[in-house]
Symmetry: C2
Subunit: 203 residues, 2 copies
DNA sequence: TTGTCAGCATGACAAATGTCATGTGAGAAG
DNA sequence: CTTCTCACATGACATTTGTCATGCTGACAA
């Protein structure tokens, strides 16, 4: 029997090691390698591409979504499963656009990971059902590029003046974009706007 | 040989299962039970207290810090190890106050978990060295109770008026506390103040 | 070609936020 | 028993933030 070769990518060492231990208890799966960021993962893959790549999203150097996009292009045979804490429709959409075959939440029971890897290896898609349902009904990102760009900075605590300087806009303009964003998101100030947008995966 | 009995508490199912798999590969450790929040953990403990309790901090129902405090009181023989993502001096201090013998970061290599459990079981303390060093030099929480209370709400996007209503204060008073907090933290608005305070573990 | 619609940009005005001077009482230090 | 300090509380004033009316441009459909 040939085992399914998996490459694990996750920035928290403890979780990475634990997931490896978990997968190694499965008779038909073997952890062929581990990496703690996207760059390291790509280095490993050039030597020997695995059949399935399991990756977190939020990591230093290169996010899992960026990694998925590169893998789709350079290693089209490798299937990608995103494994993340975040149930954000925006992330799911971007993951699927980036060519991921699976999107799984860390909330789910541990048994689902191995099962998802098997399904994806067989050529099926695996998406967390609750999140898929939500994404179906969910409103698409209403923000324009400029609005996103400005809301991001404002949400990090930059003042209107700071943002205006960095983007070479007048303060009035920056305030206006924020006002637009606030209205589009149906909230009442920049703080809530940034929080809501982040929670949906739009920033 | 009698194995060390461990109770694992962690709200993310995937991580919980993976950590259990990891610990079960150790010959001298056995996972006696798992729970996904503080309440469930206490229920299990009343039946059979484990020798070591390993818990995450941020969980629904009851945080790991609250759990540690209850365990110290009701099950003084059980040693507690906090296992968390957050390298926040404020959390460490509170964990030690709550009677935890260990404070470990999920960033660290997987091997350190088993080692930490063994040490704590032997009666030693285990604290992440970098974090311990930082906590030593780190400034203590400069905020008063009122300031914390108000900064928390403001950081969640509540307006001055909302906060004033909820706490039965005048708006001027609320603004003043925020101004004080902003000055104490050396930042320039409520957003940065809340972010900084959170990152230090003060909220 | 001509609407019309969306994103981009601005400034005047209104509303919310931040600062400061001031006052109170409780507890520690002298 | 003062005197000091610190948390708590407030309102007047200054600054920043949010809203609105307005104009420009390019894309796309009629």
């Amino acid at each position: 029997m040939t085992k399914i070769e998996v490459l694990l990518v996750e920035d928290q060492g403890m979780v990475l090691g634990a997931l490896a231990a978990l997968l190694n208890t499965e008779p038909d799966i073997t952890v062929a390698g581990t990496a703690s960021n996207g760059r390291a993962a790509l280095d490993l893959m050039t030597k020997k591409p695995p059949q399935v790549l399991v990756t977190d999203i939020e990591m230093p150097q290169m996010t899992g979504l960026e990694l998925a996009a590169v893998v789709k292009e350079r290693f089209p045979k490798t299937r990608v499963v995103i494994l993340t804490t975040f149930a954000r429709p925006g992330y799911l959409r971007r993951a699927l656009d980036a060519g991921a075959q699976g999107y799984l939440l860390k909330d789910r029971p541990a048994a689902e990971l191995a099962e998802a890897i098997r399904r994806v290896h067989r050529g099926l898609r695996v998406v967390d059902p609750d999140l898929a349902a939500e994404a179906w009904t969910a409103d698409p990102d209403p923000l324009s590029d400029r609005e996103r760009q400005i809301l991001q900075r404002a949400g990090d605590g930059m003042s209107t003046a700071d943002v205006a300087r960095e983007l070479s806009l007048s303060e009035g303009t920056v305030r206006n974009y924020l006002s637009e964003s606030i209205a589009k998101l149906g909230v009442s100030n920049r703080i809530e706007a940034a929080r809501l947008a982040r929670s949906k995966g739009w920033l």
